[in-house]
Each structure stands twice: as structure tokens, then as C-alpha cells.
Subunit: 424 residues, 2 copies
């Protein structure tokens, strides 16, 4: 195919007609596919089915230390469950709190606590307008939490190896900037893993706000897809050098390891932050679901258990990622209108289409039966300033379905590009 | 025994010596018992063991509507689980949100939301000092939440049929009084169930604050112990007459039906409040643990299922309640230093000892190996103004252990009374 930017109006019209024909053909097929959310497929969920048998009347319900997991008690989680998360995140058990089924909820709770009680001494809510640095594109649900609490979001571009730290270091000179939120490994949506240098720069930050916090959402810490896997520098190791451990709140979960609806989540933090969070938790709950923690601890045993399990997931996900990448490579070949990354892990492929055509591409897909994450969602307030980023979640559909959906997406992006260029 | 108040100093000395001897004998036995928390016994937990088998690889994990409960989705809970709670609380399914394993957490979240976003339009946190009416004695964890958020607590006496509503109606003329929190059935700790008249008075309240909320913690809605059970008027039915439905947030859970650590909790509220809470939940979580909801729905089926199950609990609890009451009747007979109630349900027995001797009684018990809920805990800020209330949680120990513990408690209370009266 030809570079769209070099086409004459007449050539564009020919291209438009051709692509429009393909699009209409697709539409006529009446697809009904959804690539909107990073939702594991039923086949992936089936990989964890035996988890149910870890705990029952026959196999027992007691933790290693004899705790009857059915009853009240145990605020910070079962030790055997802490061990698994501690190994996965490279911290000590004492720096882990095992929570409920949602790391999103941990982040919401943490920010909520900062609003009412502060990360330091003074509640964020009583400090006037406050702000967060938001590497973009990013995770819509992160932005949702910040928006809910009226925290102004400041876009920071994600570069090839992580957020633009020059920009971040500029922003944090303002003491109303209270934090940053990001997915450091296999980022949502681009699948970028922060370089060691970038992690060190983050650990070295000297924000004007003494109550500045980085929400380190390590959702995909062991979620490799390709055989080549990314390695993320341990943020708490990096922070040691700068004595900045208190600046980081790390979260993760088994949502995309066992069951999204009934997994176990965990928080990792410095001794000081753990104490502060425990103090709140004492009032907030008598304890999280220990039976589910026990199920997970017995089933996965340790980090090796998790990793072996994740190889099965990778085997299921890789053909899906490949199908999308192959399709893009073929369909956008030579057009110069799209860029994408081929991430080594995570749950998403990020596609940048021609500036100003992402929303239109989304509409075209939807009209032909393929639902995408709404373009714009990967930016704060749902506003992609260049209207170009589209997040693709390839996990749920089958490979066959994905091929169709990705092809439709590419055709829609080309059609939207033609439409835009013809209007010039 | 003789009325303590009528004893001469000399007679008191004799009584003291006698009671001291009994106390020392007890102490020498080296008891190790705990009546501090309303914790079901292992025997009670065993009654729900089959719940594990409701959901597994063999029996399935799909809800009635086909939802794969392992995956993401379903914000407000499975319909079949809503039905059970709706029946138990006498509301429509649409007015129920099924949550995680803790109704305490629902209350914390709700108050937290009111602080940051308000119950009406304006966040409570931006309205200066705010206050709650607190019927006393009450539940220490309620007071803990209010204290955590810096909400001033105003004591309101619990009368025989509920809170002193004259006092409440006086307090709520102050628009900084934003709410009231209570257990309306088998109250914690007294086991009082609000009379229909009292419930109607609560429904009829006209608080100055338009964003006034009553947290209706119906923790023991079906938790009868005696054959004679109390009936609580449905608060939402009562509220209809006064169009005050928006004033009430009702919560309950299966913590003391299935498993305290791994049950299911629920919130009931008016359409308007449900909408408001859903709006927050959309940001806070992708959904609660549906597998656990499904387990409960399949196992209990409906309100009849719950009620039949609770009869087994009652059979286990009744001899324990009886043992404590019998012991008190015997040990305090004629002394005139103690009052208690014989509740028809719930989890507690409330004992009022001689004014100014509850803390000392607690110390004496502790020194002899029996841990009670710390005296004072049943009042805001841990301060029982008359230092007389002691909460007894008889569920966890065996009947045999309870007999000993209750006897020691009575002896300790008598000893503390002698000590006090001798100092006159």
C-alpha cells in the first residue's frame, strides 16, 4: 500500500472506495465482538479451576499457623499468602497487606484515606486544589479514581522507557502536585516496561510536597506473553538509595492469574506506610476473606507456582497478541497512518492511528459490531488531545474472532484516515 | 445474699473476705477464656461447611442469568443473592447492593463517601465540625468509625424500647448533627429490639440537616436465640409514611450466618441513595466476589433457607445465653448491685454492675484469666460515664467454659463492689 500522506486527492478517493467496500462487507457480516476490557477468556479461567478444591470440608480451612480461616481475625492477611506476594514483588512479608478481590479498590481506598486523613499529617481534602502527574496514555480506571476525588490530572507523555521524567520533575516543584499513578510493567495500554534508569529517576524524585505518593500499580508483574520477558527494577530496592521508600504504594492482584472476580489483591509499602494503613484498616474491617487467601496460597504455593501457572496463560494469550500484530502489519503496511507496539506481556496492544481519527475509528468499529475501549479513555477526563490512541484488549475473544476484529479495526482506521485526508 | 447497699461496714468486710476467697480460688485455677468478641464458635461454623461444595469445577460457577462468576463484572451483586437479602430485610432487589465480606466495611465506606462527597450536595468534611447521635451503650466499632473521621459523638440513652427519641429530636435541631448509628434489632450490647413506636418516631424525624443519615445496622435481623423472637418494624415501610426513605442506610451480612471471615454483606437503601452509591462503586471496584455470592445463594436459596439454618445456630447459642443468665441470677441474687437483660437474640448479654466498678471488674477478670470486652468500649471514646456497663459475648466458649467465666465475672463484680463500698 502507499503512504497515505503522499496520495493525491484522486488516489485517496480510490483508496477510500476500496476500503469502504471492505468495511461494508464486514458490516454485512454482523459481527458481535468485544475488545473493550482486559478480561481473561473462559479458557484462561478454566486453568485455575482446581483452586476450588484447595479449601473445603474435606481438605480443611486452617492456615499454617492454625488460624480458622472461616472466623473473624487476621487484619493484614495470611502469612502464606503474604509470602507469595512478597516473592512476586521482592519485598518482605511484613511489608505486604493482603486485601480483598480488587487492587483497584486498594488504590481507591488509599487515595480516599489521603483525602480524609492525609499521606502525611494533613488531609489532602483540606489543602485546596491538588494534582497528580498522569503518564499518558494510561489506565482509565486510575483516572476515574482521581477524577472522583476532584484531583486535577496533569498529562505526562510516556516515552519508550517510561514517563518523561524531565516533565515530571518540573511538575513536582509545585507542592499541590501530590502524586503520580502508573503501571510500571507492561503498562496499560502500551505494554511499556520502565527502564532501570527511569525507575531510578522515579525513586530519586524530590517533590515539593512532603506528602507526595506514587501509586505503583504493578498489575502485570508476572504477566509475560512472549518468551522474551521484561524485567522491572524493584522500586523499593531503587528507593533505598534515596531513602524514598515512603513515597511508594505498590499494588498487585491475582485478578489475571486466578479469577478476576474472585482473586486476591495485595499492597506493598514501607514500614511507615504499612503502619498508617493498618491503623485505618483496624477501623475499616475486621479482616479480608481469609478462605480465599488460603485457597490461593494452597493452590499456587509460591512464586514458582505462580510463574508456572502464568506460562499456561501466556500460551493462550500469545496467539491472540500475534494475530492482532500480524493483522496490523499487513493492513497498515506502507500506509504510514498507524503505529503500535508489540509488548512482551500485559493485557493490551496500543494502537495510534492518524491524529484526529481515533474516535471516528471507534465509531466505525462499533457500527460494524466490534466494541473497543472508547477512544479517549486512555487519557484523563477521556480526552486524548491528539485523538489518536486506541487500546486493544485481545484476551477475551478467540483467535479467529480477533483476526476479524483486528482486521475490521484496521480497515476502520484506514477509512477514518481517508475521510480525514479527503476533507483537507 | 443481702442487699449490698444495706450492709454495714463490718458486714461488707465479711462479704469481701468471702468473695475474695472465691476469687482467689478461681485465680488459682488458671483459666484462659475469652468473652470479648461476638465470634461464632467452631461448632457454629461447621454448620455451614457444605457451602464450599456449592461452587466448584464439578458443580459450576455460573449465576442463574449465565454470568460467569469467575470473571469481571456485575457491580451490585448477583440477583439470586440480592433476593435472599431483599427477603430478609423486606425490600426490593433493586434496593439491595451485595458487597464484600464485611458490613462494617460498607458502613466505613458510606461514612467515608459522605465525608468526601456528601450525603446530599456538600461533603461533610467541608462543613466544619459535625456530629452523630449515638444510642448508648452501643457497638464499639461503630464508634471507632465515627472517631476515625473526627465526627463528634453525642450520647443518647437506650431506653427499654430503643433510643430516647425526645433526646434525639432535641439533638437533631442542630444542623451539624448529621446522623445516628445503631443496631435496631437485638442491639449490641443490650439485645434490645426497637418497638414499632420507636421505629416510627425514627422514621418521622425532621433533622435540621438535609443530609442527615441513619445507619441502620441490622446485623442480627434473623438471629433469634430464644423461641420467642422479637419482630422489628421494617424501617423502609415506616419511612414511606413520612417520605423519609432517603434518610436510611441499612446494612446486614451473613458473618454470623455462614462465616465471619468469608461471608457476604449487603446494603439496602432508597432508589436515590442506591444511585449515589452505585456512582461511587463504579469508580471503586469492578465488582465484589461473585463466587462467594453464588456459594451463599446456592447454599441458602432464600429466606426460609436462612431461617432454618439460624435455628441450628440458636440451638447452639441458647444453652450459652442460659448459662450466663442462670449464673448471674444465682451469683447476684439479692445483692442489688447488678442488672442484666435476657435478650431473645443477637450475640451479647449486657451487664450493668455497681456504678464506678466496671473497669475494676474487667481488671479482676483479666487477672484471673477471663478476657472481656474492655469496659467502656460500649460507649463513644471508650468512656462509660458511669463506669458500669460490661458486654458479654457468650458465643465462642463452650457452655462449660462459660459457666466458669460467668461465675468469675459475677464474683469479680461483687468483689469490685465490696472494694468500692468499703472505701465510702
Amino acid at each position: 500500500m502507499s503512504l497515505y500522506s503522499s496520495l493525491s486527492a484522486e488516489q485517496l478517493r480510490v483508496e477510500y472506495d476500496e476500503v469502504k467496500q471492505s468495511y461494508d462487507d464486514f458490516k454485512a457480516r454482523g459481527l458481535e465482538l468485544n475488545m473493550a476490557r482486559g478480561k481473561p477468556s473462559p479458557a484462561q479461567l478454566d486453568m485455575s479451576l482446581d483452586i476450588f478444591d484447595s479449601v473445603n470440608a474435606l481438605n480443611g480451612y486452617k492456615a499454617q499457623d492454625g488460624t480458622d480461616c472461616r472466623n473473624y481475625g487476621n487484619l493484614t492477611g495470611l502469612d502464606e499468602c503474604k509470602t507469595i506476594f512478597a516473592q512476586a514483588l521482592g519485598v518482605q512479608n511484613d511489608n505486604i497487606i493482603v486485601c480483598g478481590n480488587s487492587s483497584l479498590n486498594i488504590m481507591f481506598d488509599y487515595i480516599s484515606q489521603c483525602m480524609t486523613h492525609g499521606a502525611g499529617d494533613k488531609p489532602w481534602m483540606l489543602q485546596g486544589k491538588i494534582k497528580f502527574a498522569c503518564p499518558v496514555p494510561g489506565y482509565d480506571r486510575h483516572f476515574g479514581i482521581l477524577e472522583h476525588f476532584g484531583i486535577e490530572m496533569l498529562n505526562v507523555p510516556m516515552l519508550a522507557d517510561g514517563p518523561d521524567m524531565d516533565k515530571v520533575n518540573e511538575l513536582i516543584k509545585d507542592e499541590t502536585v501530590k502524586g503520580m499513578i502508573l503501571v510500571p510493567k507492561y503498562s496499560n495500554p502500551e505494554g511499556i516496561t520502565l527502564s532501570d534508569e527511569c525507575v531510578r529517576k522515579i525513586a530519586a524524585m524530590k517533590p515539593a510536597a512532603e506528602d507526595f505518593r506514587v501509586i505503583w500499580d504493578n498489575a502485570y508483574c508476572i504477566h509475560d506473553v512472549n518468551e522474551t520477558s521484561d524485567e522491572l527494577l524493584n522500586i523499593f530496592e531503587a528507593a533505598k538509595e534515596f531513602s524514598s521508600e515512603d513515597m511508594f504504594i505498590e499494588v498487585t492482584s491475582t485478578s489475571k492469574i486466578s479469577f478476576p472476580g474472585a482473586g486476591v489483591s495485595a499492597l506493598a509499602a514501607s514500614d511507615r506506610n504499612i503502619e498508617m494503613i493498618k491503623k485505618r484498616m483496624t477501623v475499616q474491617t475486621i479482616g479480608n476473606d481469609k478462605l480465599n487467601q488460603l485457597r490461593h496460597a494452597i493452590y499456587f504455593k509460591n512464586l514458582d507456582g505462580l510463574k508456572n501457572h502464568m506460562k499456561k496463560h501466556a500460551a493462550s494469550l500469545k496467539p491472540k497478541f500475534d494475530a492482532v500484530i500480524e493483522c496490523f502489519t499487513k493492513e497498515f503496511d506502507g500506509t504510514g497512518i498507524a503505529q503500535w507496539k508489540n509488548p512482551n506481556g500485559g493485557y493490551f496492544i496500543s494502537l495510534n492511528v492518524l491524529d484526529g481519527t481515533a474516535k471516528r475509528t471507534g465509531e466505525l468499529c462499533k457500527d460494524a459490531g466490534v466494541v473497543l475501549t472508547p477512544p479517549g479513555a486512555t487519557y484523563p477526563y477521556g480526552k486524548d488531545p491528539e485523538d489518536k490512541n486506541i487500546r486493544i484488549a485481545p484476551s477475551f475473544p478467540t483467535v479467529e474472532e480477533l483476526r476479524k476484529a483486528a482486521e475490521l479495526l484496521a480497515i476502520s482506521a484506514r477509512l477514518a484516515a481517508c475521510e480525514k485526508l479527503l476533507k483537507r
